[in-house]
């Protein structure tokens, strides 16, 4: 192999790593795990054991093509395409394994994707992410791509492609509750974000306009940020319970020591620092000459703030919102511990029952949600950046 020959591709270092990890996983880890019921440990099954020969070969061929591309093909578009094809193949193979291993009409056995499936998924995900980064798609293309993949996944779920896999089995049992907890999860995450924006923006503007207050406010928020979530829930229980007892109607409004109230308050407090700090940083970045000119031309202070300063600071402020949103979507999970609800309820219930599928029923949507929120807001920041 001569590196000097034109067209001769060099071996991609990331590809080596991903292919090695993927191959090792395929060799040493089960592709799916067969469990007689939802809590017993399962029997490992390899790809060849669960699929008919022709399907296993096809699946292996696609994976091999993706591996070769990861190793030797520099073209980012080809890498992305093969990574996506391999992900789809992997998902279909798992679904097929579920269908093949489930006795007709049976609702007790659980077919869970095994270690090899997850490792391959991560490797292919990294390959796709790397290819996307090299392609540098615009924000519009990225959001469109996101929407398309969401639509494909949604269609497959609605069609029942994955119905025989363990996570979907858990979903089938909990469908009504899942919708409720998902709504609660979004309500907690976005509600605390909205509250933090309503308070944090003016606080950030205040810090900018009154530099004497800035160190005090930011230091206080920094201290709050260092308190672990569980501890903060605990700290809030007593005062909120006292408030509920002391103020008439407070309890009817949902203010209690446990439940959603302390969760929202805690998330709100955590959200303040990124919003305030980014508002201050964004306003500091605004050209002093533009602000001076705005005042000099006869804009009122409010007009200077809303028409010049905040608009020019918006990309930086939105970066703060992105941090908060992703942080909140993750942190709402813990709210389930104090009766706040949300998808974390499945996670903790699953841990309690050692039912890993139930944990995944909560965890997979949480991760997906955080991922999508980050990508959409990143795209928005990029659009607004002049």
């Amino acid at each position: 192999m001569s590196g000097a020959r034109p067209g001769a591709a060099r071996i991609d270092p990331l590809g080596v790593l991903l292919v090695a990890a993927g191959a090792a996983a395929l060799l040493f880890l089960p592709f799916v795990v067969f469990k007689a019921n939802r809590i017993v440990p399962g029997d490992p099954r390899t790809l060849a054991q669960v699929l008919p020969a022709w399907a296993a070969l096809g699946c292996a061929a696609v994976l091999a093509a993706a591996a070769l591309t990861a190793l030797w093909v520099a073209n980012a578009r080809a890498r992305l395409l093969l990574a996506l094809a391999a992900v789809a193949t992997l998902a279909l193979a798992a679904a097929a394994a579920g269908d093949a291993l489930t006795p007709p009409g049976d609702r007790i056995v659980r077919i869970a994707p095994g270690g090899a499936f997850w490792v391959l998924l991560v490797c292919l995900g990294l390959l796709a992410t790397d290819a996307t980064t090299r392609l540098r798609p615009g924000p519009g293309v990225r959001v469109l791509f996101l929407a398309a993949s969401l639509a494909v996944a949604g269609l497959a779920l609605a069609h029942g492609t994955f119905d025989h896999l363990s996570v979907m089995r858990e979903y089938a049992v909990n469908a009504a509750r899942f919708a409720r907890e998902a709504r609660q999860h979004l309500k907690l995450a976005f509600g605390s974000l909205a509250a933090a924006a309503v308070v944090g923006l003016p606080l950030g503007v205040l810090c900018h306009r009154a530099p004497k207050l800035r160190p005090g406010i930011l230091a206080t928020l920094n201290v709050i940020e260092t308190i672990p979530a569980i501890a903060l829930f605990g700290i809030l229980m007593a005062p909120l319970a006292a408030l509920a007892a002391a103020v008439p109607f407070a309890e009817q409004l949902g203010i209690r020591g446990i439940g959603a109230a302390p969760a929202v308050v805690a998330l709100f407090l955590y959200s303040l620092l990124p919003i305030v700090a980014n508002t201050v940083a964004g306003l500091k970045r605004v050209s002093r000459a533009a602000v001076e000119a705005a005042h000099g031309m006869g804009m009122t202070s409010w007009q200077v703030l809303t028409q010049v300063e905040l608009i020019l600071a918006l990309p930086v402020i939105l970066t703060g919102v992105r941090v908060v949103l992703v942080q909140n979507i993750g942190m709402v999970t813990v709210a389930a511990l104090i009766g706040g609800g949300g998808l974390g309820a499945f996670v903790f219930q699953g841990i309690g029952q050692t039912a890993i599928d139930l944990v995944l029923l909560g965890a997979i949507p949480i991760v997906t949600l955080a991922f999508f929120a980050a990508l959409v807001l990143d795209a928005l920041v990029e659009v607004l950046e002049p």
Binding site: V291, H295, G298, M299, Q303
Partner: protein, 310 residues
């Protein structure tokens, strides 16, 4: 007309502007010069109340500037700063339309005014109206800054080191443009600079400030011939004061009757430029000739030199 009466600004113990009084005639350019920290910018910013004076007052056309809210006052006064201060998120046309929008002009009038100003500043409306400031060169940005300040037809234009960020060639062009614009719109201009050449070139009157005090406020020639203070002579420069004096008189003003076979010079050329031309050609006299070829008279070396003495 702007009347500044005993303006003083103190920050704690420090007096930044100390009891300054001066009058800027209508349709004239007054230039405030001084070293940094002389209080010249603060004095300018007290005229449009970006800085509120500790004591004293400012009248514009006889009306006290404190008789209306500061932001309404500023909409009637053009303001240009160093580094232009254009809004990076708004197009050139939107930038220029800022004050007319604040004043609630109707869209047709705003559009007509923006187009007019772009043409005055030699920026083709078709290609520049929708451009963003960062797409323009430094000189173009500066012109848009001045156009924006003039958009609502202010009677007074305040300029704080407006050409400070420009390179010398573009700066000279911008200064010429300002003189043209001032004549065209009849605006009363107050300009702050630390550059004495700029002050002499633009100012009908020049105010020299130091340590917050106004040392002298007079025509440039008087600053040279009868400086009120040693600091004024230092600012105007002792070594080349005769040449500066020559640069203040044009050939048209100094031309004497008679003919000459020397080189032809324009009546707008300064005596300094004519003298330089005569030295270069080794001639004793020059013909002063209009653009259309009419001979306006002649200038001898001796006549020019007479203008360089106090």
């Amino acid at each position: 007309m702007i009347t500044v009466e005993s303006l003083t600004k103190r920050y704690g113990e420090t007096t930044v502007v100390d009891d300054v009084s001066l009058t800027v005639e209508r349709n004239s350019i007054s230039v405030i010069v001084g070293t940094s920290g002389s209080g010249k910018s603060t004095l300018l910013r007290m005229i449009n109340r970006l800085v509120e004076p500790t004591s004293g007052r400012v009248l514009i056309d006889g009306r006290d500037t404190r008789s209306e809210p500061a932001h309404l006052l500023r909409r009637r006064i053009g303001y240009v700063i160093q580094g232009h201060g254009l809004f990076p998120h708004r197009t050139v046309a939107e930038n220029i339309a800022t004050v007319p929008r604040l004043l609630g002009w109707d869209e047709r009038r705003i559009e007509a005014r923006v187009t007019e100003l772009l043409e005055v500043f030699s920026l083709d409306p078709a290609s520049y109206a929708d451009a963003l400031p960062h797409q323009l060169s430094g000189g173009q940005q500066q012109r848009v800054g001045v156009a924006r300040a003039l958009a609502a037809e202010p009677v007074v234009l305040l300029m704080d080191e407006p050409f400070g960020a420009l390179d010398p060639i573009i700066r000279a062009k911008a200064q010429d443009d300002l003189l043209d614009i001032q004549r065209r719109f009849g605006t009363t201009v107050v300009l702050v600079t630390h550059d004495m050449d700029e002050a002499f070139r633009l100012g009908d009157r020049v105010a020299v400030m130091s340590g917050g005090r106004l040392l002298q406020y007079d025509r440039p020639a008087v600053l040279l011939t009868r400086p009120a203070d040693p600091f004024v002579s230092r600012m105007t420069g002792l070594a080349d004061r005769a040449m500066r004096l020559l640069s203040l008189v044009t050939a048209g003003e100094a031309a004497l009757p008679g003919a000459s076979d020397g080189p032809a010079v324009a009546p707008t050329a300064s005596l300094r430029e004519v003298l330089s031309e005569l030295l270069w050609c080794g001639a004793d006299s020059a013909r002063v000739v209009d653009a259309d070829g009419t001979v306006r008279g002649r200038l001898t070396v001796a006549a020019i030199l007479a203008h360089g003495r106090p």
